[in-house]
Amino acid sequence: MTMTIKHHISDALLMGYAAGQLPEAFSLVVATHLSLCDDCRARFAGYEAVGGAVMECAGAVAMSEHSLAATMARIRSAPAPVSRDAPRRMGIFPAPLAAMVGGGPEAVKWRSIGMGVRQAILPTENGARARLLHIAAGQKVPDHGHRGMELTLVLQGAFRDETDRFGPGDLEIADEDLHHQPIAEAGEDCICLAATDAPLRFNGLAARLAQPFLRI
């Protein structure tokens, strides 16, 4: 919570999340960053307020004649809602990520994809894919470009690429214009949550051949 975050969620993504229009994998990354960043949480409140104003002005449509009585009957007949325990933070995983993984970092089933990189694909619905990446300290990730948008949120350690340094809590938003070769900083291994809405585009032949097996 006291981390210094330099790279934040874009306005467009915040509005998309407030409007409920992001694929689940992107919502997961945004919700995880919001759990770490009070600045973005406060900006997000503004975009939810826009939703309230839009709904207020969008035009009312008359409810059916006995709708209020029907709703009261619904309230009375429904069992009192069980207040479930809110999901909790587990180690370096904020609550939304811990809920998706079903535990903290020790619960992740990593698979090595070679080159000092391990990954775990998360069970998000179709449309975009989320995965956790574990990159050994000092390790390079294969040189790649993007067909769509790639969000990468650092949870531990740090990486650098052509654009900047990304430490814990930082979010890199890469689009088709960015072609990069991230490298994990020396010291601590780097753990990231990443989401893509289209397969990455690798440049090296080896990585390209391996891509169908990596599912990234």
């Binding site: 874009s10 306005d11 467009a12 993504l13 509005m15 998309g16 409007a19 409920g20 229009q21 992001l22 694929p23 689940e24 992107f26 919700a31 995880t32 919001l34 759990s35 009070d38 600045d39 949480r41 406060a42 997000f44 409140a45 503004g46 975009y47 939810e48 307020a49 826009v50 939703g51 309230g52 104003a53 839009v54 709904m55 207020e56 002005c57 969008a58 035009g59 009312a60 449509v61 008359a62 409810m63 709708s67 209020l68 029907a70 709703t71 009261m72 619904r74 309230i75 429904a78 009192a80 809602p81 809110a86 933070r89 904020p94 609550a95 939304p96 998706m100 769509g148 948008m149 809405d197």
Partner: protein, 215 residues
């Protein structure tokens, strides 16, 4: 489909008949929101607080008459049939009753809060999708009820609605389409020029106080 009128002033003040006589002494049990005579901006919040604290059905009926048709309209503009929208709007209002204890007028206006419930219902019913939520913060009721903060939040939200109404038509329609779920995440551009700064600063301050308390 998106031919709505610019929003005029939010509804005329609505005070349920049962309360007309007592509007001047409506300090809630927890003392969090006071409706003073002549101030109407926080009426919805005061009614919701009555639902929250007293399970007050007349206050709920007043909220229902205002918000249920707007939720229904919102869901129909989002692509729901009239029957589905009616059903979901009743659900949304039932959630408002059941989760009233989570409402905090210093953090959101009633319209904003109802919108978030309607949005989540739409994601369930129309997109059949899931939406991970940010970590819950232990906001809790403050020992010192902050009526001023609550009042200011309601006013900020009203001003935001007025600012949206004044936007050039094309820009306003784009914002509405984004919130009706008519734009994909790659089509949304958020260069709105809307005055979101005051709401942001207010929430930021509240978060700082909270972190200070937790720390």
């Amino acid at each position: 489909m998106f031919d709505m009128q610019p929003c005029e002033k939010p509804d005329a003040p609505f005070v349920a008949d049962a309360y007309a006589a007592s509007a001047a002494r409506t300090v809630t049990r927890m003392g969090r929101v006071t409706v003073t005579e002549g101030r109407i901006g926080d009426d919805w919040a005061a009614l919701l607080i009555r639902v929250r604290d007293d399970r007050d059905e007349a206050a709920f009926a007043a909220l229902f008459r205002h918000f249920a048709p707007r939720v229904k309209g919102f869901l129909m503009k989002s692509g729901a049939s009239a029957a589905l929208a009616e059903d979901c709007a009743q659900d949304v209002m039932a959630v408002l009753w059941n989760k009233a204890h989570l409402f905090d007028p210093a953090r959101a206006s009633v319209a904003t809060w109802v919108f978030t419930i309607a949005r989540n219902r739409r994601i369930d019913a129309l997109r059949k999708a899931r939406r991970p939520e940010p970590e819950d913060l232990p906001w809790g009721p403050e020992a010192e009820p902050d009526q001023q903060a609550a009042l200011e939040m309601q006013q900020d939200t009203e001003r935001l609605g007025e600012a949206i109404a004044r936007l050039p038509e094309k820009q306003r329609v784009l914002i509405e389409r984004a919130y009706f779920g008519d734009l994909s995440h790659t089509e949304i551009a958020a260069e709105t020029g809307l005055p979101l700064g005051t709401i942001k600063s207010r929430i930021r301050l509240a978060l700082e106080r909270l972190r200070h308390k937790m720390g």
